[in-house]
């Protein structure tokens, strides 16, 4: 071959060796470039990349504190935390959200509304790699169905969390309120770090008012996660501080007895221990199950509650504004005698009506035939309206407004019931401001029997009765008895609550003559224990002395000369039955107010209920089997 002959083997070999050496040098230089690069990354920039790697791997996760428990005065658990299973989705692991949701729906029932809520929660997610619940309260069966399909459902998990449970359901909802899932607005209000892992917040009542104590402090754990956010192990943990357990003055037994007594009625009872101001029972019926609200109530259930004509969502005890009727007569009498307008012995003849001027409008007494000759004691015992018309005419509105104000009407005096209303205590200034009208004498007459513009809540009536029981000493009504703490010795102690000074109760009621307390209390005692007392049947055969006052508040105004006929009136136009009382008279341990909407007469409907509540509390009496069976 010609080409072959031209080849110079030794020259070719020499050339190759030169090139090979050159190639080797280039190889070494390029390897040095790589080594330089790696040296730069691994030695020079090591700290930066170490930090990046740690950021990748280590996540700081907040750990929610366990919510404090709520006990009644006898140590009965009223609000518990129970494990509940929810199905959650970790968005980072899901490729097609709608497809996964559809797949889930084939396994367990999920409503469109729940999906809508889930998507809303997903948008409001507070940090990446936070799983978002789709449905709560899974049953064992549903958990099993999801678990066996885990492999087909990436990103889907069944998670357990402790959620609030109210073992006594609707018995306590109006007394305690409830917690629910925290919403965006509430998140803005709370301290974000402390709530970073919290999903529930007090929405109403005690749960809302004592949110700070009950919530506790968030803990943190450093966890190692993989690239898909799954926690591999916990590296470090600072435990959350659980919320404090709180004890209420509430007496569950009394609450349940009261609830039974009111069953089937639209009614409310508030009972206070006058010595401590502690609310022993606070019932508003009908009520509803707060457990429905914890994880979010369904449309159907909510609408049923909202549209019920009996207004179960309405907390009558602290928000129901009722004309107090005759129940405020002792205080009206007190304002007259203590301002020196009349003496307790002041006597009138009651023909059954009162007129301001000869032949003018007749202000009727509830007793058509009149009470005849009555003094103050008789007028309280028999609830004579005419005596009060006469006295109110004499004194005018100012002393009444002043004294009633001292007993807490027209203002919120309770310390820890955030939804409580102040209702209305009329006065000249009030009418001018609110109604843009002058005060008429007729207004005074109406006010003296607790009608007209005057409205008060059951809680206000009970509190005012407690002030009478305490002979003027104001101890503001409260729910909280104390907070459980572990002292240095390791023993559980109850720490007295500290209420903010902004909500101090009104100053004590100081009378011009202290003896006047005896006068009105005698009147109230006569209501229960005298021959002509309006509630003598409810006071009969009692082992302790009761001071009480009945009230019957008109719902519809009765026209001139028209006879009130309870039978004819539709039930919702019937009078409200009211009753206030405290007992025992010489050492008051309970003061209470009873209101039964459209219940008719205070003496026939409200007073017997009050007697049974007092018997239950003071004597430990239980209900008769028939009453207990009441639902």
């Amino acid at each position: 071959m010609a080409a072959e002959r031209l080849k110079d083997h030794s020259k070719e070999s020499r050339t190759f060796k030169i090139r090979a050496v050159l190639a080797f040098i280039v190889v070494v230089v390029m390897l040095c470039v790589l080594i330089g690069r790696l040296y730069y990354l691994q030695v020079v920039e090591h700290d930066r990349y170490s930090a990046m790697s740690e950021d990748n791997r280590v996540q700081l996760q907040p750990v929610p504190p366990t919510r404090g428990l709520i006990y009644d005065r006898n140590g009965v658990l009223l609000a518990d935390n129970r494990p509940s299973y929810s199905v959650t989705i970790l968005k980072e692991e899901v490729k097609d959200l709608d497809q996964i949701l559809a797949q889930l729906q084939t396994l367990i029932p999920i409503t469109e509304r729940e999906i809508k809520r889930f998507k809303k929660r997903l948008r409001q997610r507070r940090r990446p790699f936070e799983s978002v619940p789709v449905r709560f309260r899974l049953t064992e069966d549903e958990i099993a169905k999801i678990s066996v399909n885990y492999h087909r459902l990436p990103g889907v998990r069944v998670e357990a969390e402790l959620i609030r449970y109210y073992p006594y359901g609707e018995s306590l909802v109006h007394a305690m309120g409830y917690v629910g899932r925290i919403n965006e607005k509430e998140l803005k209000r709370v301290e974000p770090t402390n709530y970073s892992a919290t999903h529930y917040i007090g929405k109403l009542g005690i749960e809302k008012f004592y949110e700070d104590q009950l919530h506790g402090e968030v803990g943190f754990q450093k966890v190692e996660t993989n690239a898909r956010g799954r926690v591999m192990r916990v590296l470090e943990r600072s435990d959350p501080r659980p919320g404090s357990d709180i004890v209420l003055h509430l007496d569950l037994r009394l609450q349940q007895i009261t609830e039974k007594l009111l069953a089937g009625r639209r009614a409310s009872v508030v009972a206070i221990d006058p010595k401590t101001g502690g609310i022993l029972t606070m019932v508003s019926t009908p009520a509803y199950d707060p457990n429905l609200f914890v994880t979010g109530i369904s449309y159907k259930n909510y609408n049923a509650l909202r549209e019920s004509p009996d207004l179960p969502l309405f907390n009558r005890a602290i928000r129901g504004r009722y004309p107090p009727g005759s129940t405020i007569k002792p205080i009206v009498a007190l304002s007259a005698i203590d301002s020196g307008i009349v003496k307790p012995s002041y006597t009138i003849f009651d023909p059954g009506w009162y007129t301001l001027t000869q032949g003018g409008r007749k202000y009727r007494d509830w007793k058509k035939t009149g009470h005849g000759r009555v003094d103050m004691y008789d007028s309280i015992a028999q609830s004579c309206d005419t005596w009060f018309y006469d006295v109110a005419h004499k004194m005018g509105v100012d002393p009444m407004s002043k004294y009633l104000g001292m007993f807490g009407f027209g203002q919120v005096t309770s310390l820890d019931l955030p939804e409580a209303l102040g209702a209305i205590l009329p006065s000249k200034e009030w009418k001018k401001r609110a109604r843009k009208a002058p005060w008429y004498t007729g207004d005074s007459l109406n006010m003296s029997i607790g009608q007209g513009f005057f409205v008060a809540t059951p809680l206000q009536l009970a509190a005012a009765t407690a002030v009478i029981a305490n002979r003027g000493e104001w101890i503001a009504p409260r729910m909280l008895k104390g907070t459980k703490k572990i002292d240095d010795a390791g023993a559980e102690v109850l720490v007295d609550p500290v209420f903010s000074s902004a909500k101090l109760p009104p100053s004590d009621v100081i009378l011009n003559n202290d003896k006047h307390w005896n006068d009105i209390i005698k009147g109230m005692r006569d209501v229960m224990h005298s021959k002509s007392g309006t509630a003598r049947r409810s006071g009969a055969n009692s082992e302790y002395e009761i001071a009480g006052k009945t009230g019957t508040a008109q719902v519809v105004g009765i026209k001139q000369d028209e006879v009130y006929d309870a039978e004819k009136l539709a039930e919702i136009h019937r009078d409200h039955a009211l009753f206030v009382a405290f007992a025992p008279v010489d050492d008051p341990q309970i003061a209470l107010a009873v209101i039964v909407e459209n219940g008719g007469g205070g003496s026939t409907t409200a007073a017997p209920i009050a007697r049974k509540v007092m018997d239950a509390y003071l004597l430990g009496k239980d209900l008769s089997p028939e009453e207990a069976a009441n639902e």
Partner: protein
């Protein structure tokens, strides 16, 4: 060629002439290269166990492939380079044919057709071309006077260009450039004149914008991501950021075998295949990488020594170009994982998990050993 002349060119061969043929000469294997390759494979399996998430299944499958690779290597080592050369043109034609088939009937993934599916198995014809192209160009040039004339250079470039373009069409830019490189190494080692080399470099620089124009979108994306990985930290920049983080966080002595958080917690993508060097760097540190690079350097050095000692141009060019191509794989892989080069799908030779590339590489070493044993045979 008399023995005096022989000694003049290869002084060290003198000893061999007087020695009895060693055990190695019977096996026709190069002992140094074999030991270094076994060490490298061992290192590869060791790190693969960790990189695969401690899955012994991966390790055993990889070990089986390596065993197959060694069998192929030992087989090819038994052949003389002359036989290899004779096969070259036919293999080349076959390879081109297969590449055309890929374009016509190939199956693929991620928008690229790279595979030929045959009943029972599928393979990438471009893998064959990695060996066949240097073999063919070496065969062609070895029979021409060297340094090659312009005409022979042009013909060589055509030989190189055909498979390069076909593979680029698949499209597989990385592999096509590596295959082109393997052919060009033959030209460079053949003693091609420097002025040609510089002219070519100038032309290549001028052609870069044109190359950009013909690149596919995903290829452009890779280059852009390479230039600025932080521009898309969760998308295409993720890989490179995570691999740099893995490497950098390893430090000098590493986080320890099986303890690399980036690789064990799945932050590092492709940790058992293309990005396995990041696992080495993270778990064994800078020291571990140096050990690995030293192994590679020794293998390359040994390969170049075998090439330099080959008795004829064909053997020299073949062994030299194969070993330099081997180095290019190492460089491109580590360069890409450490963020020096754009991400192209190049595995780390004999360490990355993967089928055909291991067998191809071992076949290449078989050819190098064939060149080595041919020389020993001549010496006998």
């Amino acid at each position: 060629m008399n023995s005096r002349e022989f000694e003049r060119y290869m002084p060290e061969a003198h000893d061999h002439l007087r020695q009895r043929p060693s055990l190695w000469s019977y096996t026709r294997l190069d002992g140094w290269l074999l030991i270094l390759l076994i060490l490298l494979c061992g290192f590869g399996l060791f790190i693969l166990y960790s990189a695969s998430g401690q899955d012994i299944g991966y390790v055993s499958r990889q070990a089986i492939r390596m065993g197959a690779g060694f069998v192929v290597m030992i087989f090819l080592a038994q052949l003389t380079p002359r036989i290899l050369g004779r096969w070259a043109p036919w293999l080349y034609v076959l390879g081109i044919g297969l590449l055309v088939c890929v374009i016509l009937f190939g199956v693929g993934a991620k928008g690229a057709q790279r595979w030929i599916a045959l009943p029972g198995f599928r393979f990438q014809p471009s893998e064959i071309m990695k060996l066949v192209l240097p073999l063919t160009v070496a065969f062609y040039l070895a029979h021409r006077p060297l340094p090659p004339r312009f005409k022979h250079i042009v013909i060589s470039l055509v030989l190189i260009g055909m498979p390069t373009v076909l593979i680029m069409k698949q499209p597989d830019l990385g592999t096509s450039l590596l295959i082109a490189a393997s052919g060009i190494f033959v030209l460079l080692l053949s003693g091609i004149l420097w002025r040609y080399i510089f002219t070519a470099l100038g032309l290549a620089a001028a052609a870069l914008p044109g190359l950009w124009a013909v690149m596919k979108d995903y290829q452009k994306q890779r280059v852009l991501t390479f230039l600025d990985p932080e521009s898309d930290p969760l998308g295409s920049g993720w890989n490179i950021i995570q691999s740099k983080t893995a490497i950098g966080s390893g430090g000098i002595d590493g986080k320890g075998w099986l303890s690399g958080t980036q690789s064990q917690l799945d932050f590092l993508p492709e940790s058992h295949t293309d990005f396995i060097i990041a696992v080495v760097a993270e778990e064994l540190g800078f020291i571990g990488v140096l050990v690995l690079l030293t192994l590679y350097l020794l293998i390359i050095a040994r390969g170049l020594v075998i090439a330099a000692r080959a008795p004829d141009s064909f053997g020299r060019l073949l062994a030299g170009s194969l070993i330099l191509t081997f180095f290019v794989y190492v460089f491109v892989n580590i360069g890409m994982v450490s963020g020096l080069l754009p991400v192209v799908g190049v595995p780390l030779p004999l360490v990355s998990y993967g089928g055909t590339s291991i067998v191809t590489l071992m076949a290449g070493f078989g050819m190098i050993m064939s060149v080595h044993s041919y020389r020993t045979m001549l010496l006998k």
